[in-house]
């Protein structure tokens, strides 16, 4: 089985982001970037399938400006076999990303596509589902367990009411949730080895996809600030405050 994993480079999830005062966006200059955490779970799932003898090739692809190759190197160090960087300097919408990935899928013909369930910058949670539609594959999002049986996948996914298990015929697409696995930190020899693995660079403009955004971003602002409250000394004062709130609530 051949697996394609798509990964995104984002502001590191431990960085406290700062909204630019002019409302044009979030400050990214000089900010630590890394692989989107959910994408790491997708890479780890692919590597574990290879280690279990269920997959024989893992291709990792990322789309972004120059410098995005560092997240591909991370995936190669974790155990992916080769990388593809689709280079684009401009900010791309999720539909455009999905279309570019669909072009790579058409070339690579993977049996399984793995992605993270969402990126922690735009929080969109679109690309997996869009790519599944564009490549006409069944999807299992929010996966917490993947079992491969020949040409069928059994995926347990985390949904609002609990969990559900789906059966999908290959080729299929799965997006990873946190409980799927614990991503490994690659040891130094693997990091060194990653540099000698093949990494092809493609220009997004050459893939025949219109890169023009559909939406206009008007403004990006910080959320309203909370006013600091008060400290109470006793349980009875706390209870009285709760009672006051409950009495003020609109009945639904």
């Amino acid at each position: 089985m051949k697996i394609l994993v798509a990964v995104k480079r984002v502001v590191d999830h431990n960085v406290r982001i700062r909204v630019r005062p002019d409302g044009t966006g979030v400050e990214t200059a000089g900010v630590r970037m890394s692989m989107n955490p959910f994408c790491k779970h997708a890479v780890e799932a692919a590597v574990q399938l290879a280690e279990a003898g269920k997959a024989d090739e893992i291709v990792v692809v990322s789309i972004g400006p120059k410098g995005t190759n560092d997240v591909i190197l991370t995936a190669l160090a974790m155990g992916a076999h080769r990388g593809i960087l689709v280079e684009a300097e401009q900010k791309l919408e999720t539909l455009t990303i999905a279309k570019l990935l669909a072009k790579i899928v058409a070339e690579e013909q993977p049996d399984l596509i793995l992605l993270g369930k969402q990126a922690v910058d735009d929080d969109s949670n679109h690309v997996g589902q869009m790519l599944a539609a564009l490549t006409d594959r069944p999807q299992a999002t929010f996966a917490s367990e993947i079992k491969v049986d020949g040409t069928t996948l059994e995926v347990t996914r985390e949904v609002d009411y609990g969990r559900e298990t789906l059966s999908l015929p290959l080729p299929a697409l799965v997006t990873a949730d946190l409980r799927l696995n614990t991503p490994r930190n690659a040891a130094l020899p693997m990091v060194m080895k990653a540099r000698s693995k093949p990494l092809a660079v493609r220009a997004a403009a050459d893939l025949g996809v219109d890169l023009t955004p559909r939406l206009t971003v008007e403004n990006i602002s910080p959320p309203p600030e909370r006013v600091a409250g008060k400290s109470v000394a006793s349980v009875s004062e706390f209870a009285a405050s709760v009672a006051a709130e409950v009495n003020e609530m609109e009945a639904l």
Partner: protein, 312 residues
Amino acid sequence: MSVLLLAEHDNGKLSPATARLVAAASQLGPVDLLVVAEEPAAIAEAASTLSNVRKVLVAKGPETADSLASTLERCAKSYQFVSANASTVGKDVIPRLAAKLDIQPVTDIVAIAAPNRFTRPIYAGNALETVTDPQPLHLLTFRASAFRPVAAGAAAPVETLDNSVTSVARLLAAHRTESDIPDLSTAQIVIGGGVSVGSAAGFQLIEKLGKTLGAAVGATRAAVDAGYAPNDWQIGQTGKIIAPDLYIAIGISGALQHLAGIQGAKKIFAINTDPEAPLMKLADVALVGDLFEIIPQLIAELEKLGVTKPTG
């Protein structure tokens, strides 16, 4: 400018989120509710009694992402807006539909400035993005918790759709967390427990306080990971985003990931042994102390004050 809204339901019942979604969608135009289910009759009947619903469309059929997207695709051409809840169902189906129709969707909407202008949180709610959508068809998901529910109204007409779609994915098993606790994402009061609650038994104390107040019960990711609470109780960027009138945080320090999930709460009350915990500083009312001593006393005090259980 009419709106098709996918009704949210579970286990044969209309979800309380739907009344909030109707409130959001009716800011855009007349709303037709679409109910897709294997057994849709009871859900459709409940859906038809919500105000601001023009009609209810009923389709009997599978509820997997690929089949739901096909059903919506067949209906989409008669509408300017096709919308759903920003739940696992809406997240599954709206982007899939969007790619089929070549439309860039706008999802997790928390405010509607105009019928083509929407605000949504990014970076786990640490920033708000406002976008204009000039496309002829708008594909949207709404965060139910950000909108006030519509009341019951006169019964809307119900129409049955022919829905001969098949599903490639097959549902093998569904594990529902059965409980009589109100729905976390739409409850007016939520009690959240952190890892310092210490055990599943400790969470029973949290649940007891929840019962006293008619509140939903949630947990931090750390408490869920430790096995003290089920996964669908998880509040945060990777769990559920809540916006209750009152959030009572018990033994929660306030990691960024958790704060992302509670940013919509109108009031935050906190109980913690550590007065320096970030959430204690953010809270409208903070009480320092040991939760195991405080909660039984709090339950007794609330009962004494005769605090009534709000519904919904």
